[in-house]
Subunit: 140 residues, 2 copies
DNA sequence: CCTACATCCTCTAGCGACTAGAGGTGCAAG
DNA sequence: CTTGCACCTCTAGTCGCTAGAGGATGTAGG
């Protein structure tokens, strides 16, 4: 039940102070009450919200998606179809990113391996960059 | 040997017109000659440079790294050690990203699978977001 | 009570790598 | 000659913060 300063909230949630203020500014977090000296003072329940946001950001959800997820959390009677859809979209995105990063990895490995550590005119790194056709997988 | 308009250069290189102008603005691309009517007119050799940049961007190299790589390409007598270092750093970065995306993927899969498609109060997506402890891998 | 110092406040500007749009000019075809 | 697209410059917006200026507040020690 104890009120908490923004610094304390930052320490406990792992979200930095300016970021908390930023979240308030964009309406992701509702404005807390203030002390006599106009300093923000948070309820313990605000920490849950902050942790939720932080976790979602770590999982790569965009602010807008988090906004929706928070609204869903606030109204537990709603169907969870939209939460499901958001998570699925994120999953598809992550899978796509993994695929393309794996392709990049193969390309970069080829580059680095092929580098004879000599002069630039024999360097495979530069060569491949200059000529897309020299890529292992020409798809990107 | 034919001079080319910016639109044509964009079409042939796959780099958008405003992006080409942007690259010129930040000094990644040198300013081309101009037509009588003050329109940019590119040499075919500029297309190579544009292709190089595009390819490097696709591989995720940052503008500053590309700047260095272009300088190396321009002076083929230099040692390719820096090109090698840049590519290796990029490779390590990519590998790191793949690792963390794989962790995310596992997390998201758990969320989506656990979703009973009912109401929000039984939704695992929301639940996991709210409670980090419910993650499969609690490392992130 | 005074001072020192950390923490807080608001506000603006900056990051990277573009992208969008306003408002105007050039150029080629019909 | 007019239509209409492509070009020009310039500014501002995107996303998710982060940094810094300049000032107020809160707290602990002397």
């Amino acid at each position: 039940m104890k009120k908490i300063t923004i610094g304390e909230a930052a320490r406990q949630s792992g979200v930095k102070v300016p970021t908390i203020r930023y979240y308030e500014g964009i309406g992701l977090l509702s404005a807390p009450s203030r002390s006599e000296g106009n300093q923000r003072s948070y309820e313990p329940s605000d920490l849950n919200r902050l942790a939720f946001i932080r976790h979602a950001r770590e999982l790569g959800f965009e602010i807008d998606a988090i906004r929706t997820l928070l609204q869903l959390q606030d109204d537990p009677h709603q169907s969870c179809a939209s939460a499901d859809a958001i998570a699925k979209a994120r999953l598809i995105d992550v899978e796509q990113r993994i695929r393309s990063l794996n392709a990049l990895k193969a390309e970069l490995e080829q580059m680095v391996e092929g580098c004879g550590h000599g002069r630039v005119d024999q360097c495979r790194v530069i060569e491949v960059l200059a000529d897309h056709g020299k890529c292992v997988h020409p798809h990107h």
